[in-house]
C-alpha cells in the first residue's frame, strides 16, 4: 500500500519561536503511527498543521497524493482526515446522538438525515459503546465518555486518516484497554489509518507499529516501539542525559 500522508520539511514559526522544525515523515495507508515527545515538543502544533488549524510556515503536506497545506480545516476534513482534540471537545448542549449525527450530516447535507445516515449513526454508536447514553447531553458525561463521543463524531465523518490527540490522557487502565481494543477495530476492520499523539507509553507501545519521537520541534527518532525504547537519544530527552 502507498503512503496516505507525506510530510516534507514542515516548519511552523510563531514569531521568533520555532514550534516545529523541518519535520519529515510518511504514513503508510492502513498503519498505526505513534508520535511521542516531551511537553511542548510540537506534537499538537504538528497535528494542527495537518488538520488545517494552523498554516505551515514552510513545507508540504500531501494527503492521498494531493497537497493540502494551507487548506481550511473543513476542507481537509471533507478530504478524509478526522481528528479528536487534546482538550476534549463535544457539542455540549446536544445529546450524544446529535453529536454523532452532526458528524454524519457535516459530510453530506440533507434536509433531514437519510436512512443511510441514520444507520451510520447507529453503527458508530454501537462501535463506540454509546447506545446507552444516546439521549444524554454530552456535557453531562464523564471525561472518558466525552472522549468516546469525540471519537464517535470523528468516525462519523468517515475519515481515511484519524488523528488522535492524547485520547488516553486521564483514563483509567481499564478504559485505556477498552479504547485500545476499539482503536484496533477501527484500524483493522474499517481500514482507517491512525496517528496518535500520546503520553501513555503503554498505549503507544501496544498499539503502534511505528513510533516517531519529537523533541523541541525536531524529529529525533523513528522506528518500531522496541527500537524507540532502546534509543539512547530518546532516553536522554525523556530522562535527561547521564553525566559522566
Amino acid at each position: 500500500m502507498g503512503d496516505i500522508l507525506e510530510i516534507k520539511g514542515l516548519t511552523k514559526r510563531f514569531g521568533g519561536l520555532t514550534a516545529v522544525k523541518e519535520v519529515e515523515f510518511c504514513v503508510t495507508e492502513g498503519t498505526r503511527l505513534g508520535i511521542i515527545g516531551p511537553n511542548g515538543a510540537g506534537k499538537t502544533t504538528l497535528f494542527n498543521m495537518v488538520t488545517g488549524e494552523f498554516k505551515p510556515t514552510l513545507g508540504s503536506i500531501r494527503f492521498d497524493g494531493h497537497p493540502i497545506q494551507g487548506l481550511k480545516p473543513h476542507r481537509i476534513s471533507r478530504r478524509g482526515i478526522g481528528r479528536t482534540f487534546q482538550l476534549v471537545r463535544v457539542f455540549d448542549e446536544l445529546p450524544v446522538y446529535d453529536n454523532v449525527l452532526t458528524g454524519v450530516l457535516a459530510q453530506r447535507l440533507h434536509f433531514s438525515p437519510t436512512r443511510e445516515q441514520q444507520d451510520k449513526v447507529e453503527r458508530v454508536l454501537e462501535l463506540t459503546h454509546l447506545q446507552g447514553q444516546r439521549d444524554s447531553l454530552a456535557k453531562n458525561l464523564t471525561v472518558a465518555a466525552k472522549k468516546r463521543v469525540g471519537l464517535a463524531t470523528a468516525l462519523a465523518t468517515e475519515p481515511k486518516l484519524l488523528l488522535l490527540d492524547e485520547l488516553m490522557a486521564g483514563l483509567t487502565f481499564v478504559e485505556i484497554d477498552e479504547t485500545l481494543a476499539l482503536l484496533r477495530t477501527v484500524n483493522t476492520e474499517m481500514g482507517i489509518t491512525l496517528i496518535v499523539v500520546e503520553h501513555v507509553m503503554k498505549a503507544v507501545m501496544e498499539l503502534c507499529e511505528k513510533v516517531m519521537v519529537i523533541s523541541s520541534g525536531e524529529k529525533i527518532a523513528e522506528g518500531t516501539p522496541q527500537e524507540i525504547a532502546n534509543n539512547q537519544r530518546v532516553i536522554d530527552v525523556y530522562l535527561g542525559e547521564e553525566t559522566t
Partner: protein
C-alpha cells in the same frame, strides 16, 4: 396530538385572529408592534440564539428594510408588492456583504463590529437628508395597494397582513432550525472549532445565518413602513436593537417560541407601564435582571423547568 404546547399555540393563534374584531384600535396597534417585534426577535434568534455570534444590530436591518421599501415606493412609484420583496432581498444581500468580512472576527470582536455598524446605519439615515429627509422623518408613505379586492388602507386588513407575514417568518425559522442547515447552525454555537473539524464551513454558515436574519428583519421593516407610514431614524437606533436583544433574552435565546413570547410580554408590559413613565424602565430593568438571575434561558427556560422538561 393535543400536547399542552400545541393547545397553547392554537389558543394564541385564535386570539391573534380575533383581536381586530374584539379589541379597540389601540390594542390592535400595540399587537401589531408586538408582532413586528416578534418577527425581529425570531430572526435575531436564528443568528444569535441558534448559530451563536452575538449581534447588536438587528434594528439596522429593520431600518434598512423600512427605508428601502418606503423610498422605492415614494421615489419610483413602485407598488408595495414589488418593493416588499425587493427590500427584503436587498437587506438579505446587505447582511451578506456586512457578514462576509465581519464574521471573520469571533466573539466580542464581532459583537463590537455589529454595534458600530448599527450606529453607522442610524447616522446614515439621520444625515442623508436628501434621501431620507433626515431628522424630519419620511412622510407620505402609502399603505399597500389593494390586492385581490382587499383594501389595505384600513387597520384591520393591514393587521392581517402583518399577522400573515409574522406567521410566515416563524414558520420559515422553524423550517430552517429543523433542517440539516439548522443542525449546522447549532453545531457552530456549541463548538465552532469542532464543527469546522468535522467538515462544516463555519464561516459560510455564519454569514448565511446573519443574512437570513437580516433579510427577515428587513421584511419586518418594510411592513412597519407601510403600516405606520411615517419613518424616523430614531426608530432604528441602538435603543431598538437593545430592545430586540432584551426581548430575545427574556423569552429565551435558542428556543423558537421564547423570543416570540418575549416580544409580546415586553411590548405589553411597557404599554401597561405608561401610567408611570419615569418608573417604566427602572422597573423593567429590575425585572430583566431577576429573570436572568432565576433562569438564563428566560421565560422558555422557566416554562420547561415547570414542565420538568429538563
Amino acid at each position: 396530538m393535543f400536547t399542552p404546547n400545541r393547545i397553547a399555540m392554537a389558543v394564541l393563534l385564535i386570539i391573534l385572529i380575533l383581536i381586530p374584531q374584539l379589541a379597540s384600535s389601540y390594542i390592535v396597534y400595540v399587537v401589531v408592534i408586538a408582532m413586528l417585534y416578534a418577527m425581529l426577535t425570531a430572526s435575531y434568534d436564528l443568528m444569535t440564539g441558534y448559530t451563536g455570534p452575538l449581534s447588536f444590530c438587528p434594528a439596522a436591518f429593520y431600518g434598512l428594510g423600512a427605508y428601502t421599501s418606503a423610498l422605492l415606493t415614494l421615489k419610483t412609484g413602485m407598488s408595495f408588492w414589488l418593493a416588499f420583496p425587493i427590500s427584503s432581498v436587498s437587506v438579505f444581500l446587505f447582511g451578506a456583504v456586512i457578514g462576509y468580512p465581519a464574521l471573520k472576527l469571533r466573539g466580542h470582536y464581532f459583537a463590537v463590529t455589529t454595534f458600530f455598524f448599527g450606529h453607522f446605519v442610524y447616522l446614515v439615515l439621520l444625515n442623508s437628508r436628501k434621501l431620507t429627509n433626515g431628522p424630519l422623518g419620511l412622510r407620505g408613505i402609502q399603505p399597500p395597494d389593494s390586492l385581490f379586492g382587499i383594501d389595505f388602507g384600513g387597520m384591520t386588513a393591514s393587521y392581517y397582513l402583518v399577522l400573515f407575514f409574522g406567521l410566515l417568518t416563524v414558520a420559515f425559522c422553524y423550517f430552517i432550525i429543523n433542517s440539516g442547515v439548522g443542525k449546522y447552525f447549532v453545531s457552530i454555537r456549541e463548538n465552532e472549532d469542532l464543527a469546522e473539524a468535522v467538515g462544516i464551513n463555519t464561516w459560510f454558515y455564519k454569514v448565511l445565518a446573519f443574512s437570513i436574519s437580516a433579510g427577515l428583519a428587513g421584511m419586518a421593516g418594510s411592513l412597519f413602513a407601510h403600516f405606520f407610514r411615517l419613518l424616523h431614524p430614531s426608530t432604528f437606533a441602538w435603543m431598538t436593537s437593545e430592545m430586540i436583544v432584551i426581548m430575545a433574552l427574556v423569552g429565551g435565546l435558542g428556543t423558537l417560541i421564547g423570543p416570540i413570547i418575549g416580544a409580546g410580554v415586553v411590548t405589553f408590559f411597557l404599554e401597561l407601564m405608561r401610567f408611570a413613565p419615569e418608573l417604566r424602565f427602572i422597573i423593567w430593568s429590575i425585572m430583566l435582571i431577576l429573570v436572568l438571575l432565576i433562569e438564563p434561558k428566560g421565560l422558555a427556560g422557566i416554562y420547561m423547568r415547570i414542565r420538568g422538561g429538563r
